[in-house]
Symmetry: C2
Subunit: 220 residues, 2 copies
């Protein structure tokens, strides 16, 4: 599948010139982050909650406590929607009307089920940790069975999705260009700062390569 | 009102030690950003969409096209929920189980109505632009009636809300402290970079004070 099919659920109507359905490009947006806003219904009201996720191919993994209201609700309804947005800039036009932001956003829709099978469950948990910071999992103490059993893992299979990207300068009315008003873009970036080691680390435990790499890749 | 009342909708059950309902602290989280994830129901499914917002006291303003599916749905259902999260750090523990993030998040619930009265409508639009970057609105070309009429403004009156904040180091199992595994926090920050002026600005239009201030306040 190269492109998600469009239906009433995911077809973008407003600003459709910025919309796309390309699987690879949507995966790029998913992989540029690790926190998504997961929507669910509670007592007839729609709510969304930020959650860490991991992606393997067309599967998104979420995890939480076995008593997590949202995860239990997703499993019950057998479906979920997750939205991810990266803010890339403030677009400051000469009129309020043309103010905007540069961004990359994706909304995905899929079917949901609990993952109980131990090998797949551990793979999903590894994927969530490594989505936050690559190569972290293999450096960790192994999960014990108490932790493993206390954790609920949910798998979302992406069925359809849409994305919108804005990545350009100000689009003002032609008649406004001559006005003595400053217009431009302020680029926005999420950056990592110097890692703060725990004070109780044993001697000779240095900041590992995967942490140094992350900070380097996410610095200005 | 100093604290929002708790009910089944907003009472935090998981990680309740990090939760609070204090109005001022929740306003601080709202005011530290300008993009919120607004939830709505479409054909029985919960979806959320990132949207710019502005806050004045206990009111949140959203705007969009008169044909915006989400805004029209909110007006029809007379209620909305918005979630905001600021990511402050990756919390890298010695076990996968204790991995976490530092963050400030708030979820608000409220009643919704359309704002049609011109003075309040303009005040709401000013508020949304100034929430993105303080003091911007007064430097702009005035809205014309075509733009004004094409814009739908929605007011959410906050009825209840909850927030969760994590702002600390790693919380590992005592038995894991001696392991030769690095643990610590990578602070994450959203920063502004140097503004990029439009190339077609008239001569002598310099980057204004409010833009310089924003970049200074949002730099590393």
């Amino acid at each position: 599948m190269r492109e998600y099919s469009k239906n009433t659920l995911n077809k973008v109507k407003r600003g459709s010139n910025r919309a796309f359905y390309d699987v690879t490009k949507i995966n790029d947006i998913l992989d540029a982050g690790f926190v998504g806003y997961v929507s669910y219904s509670f007592e007839g009201r729609a709510i969304c909650i930020p959650m860490a996720y991991g992606r393997i191919e067309n599967k998104i993994y979420l995890h939480g406590s076995r008593k997590n209201r949202m995860l239990l609700s997703l499993i019950q309804s057998k479906q979920a929607s997750i939205t991810i947005m990266h803010l890339d800039g403030l677009v400051l036009a000469r009129s309020g009307f043309h103010h905007s932001v540069n961004y990359r956003s994706a909304t995905i829709f899929g079917s949901v089920k609990e993952i109980d099978e131990p090998i797949l469950k551990e793979k999903a948990l590894k994927c969530v940790v490594d989505q936050m910071i690559a190569d972290r999992w293999e450096s960790l103490r192994e999960m014990n069975s108490k932790e493993f059993n206390a954790t609920l893992v949910v798998e979302l299979t992406i069925e359809t999705a849409s994305a919108k990207v804005r990545a350009e300068g100000v689009l003002d009315e032609k008649s406004d260009i001559k006005l003595p008003i400053w217009a431009g873009v302020i680029p926005i970036k999420q950056v990592a700062e110097k890692p703060i080691s725990e004070v109780d680390l044993p001697e000779k435990v240095d900041v590992p390569e995967h942490v140094l790499t992350y900070v380097k890749q996410n610095n200005k």
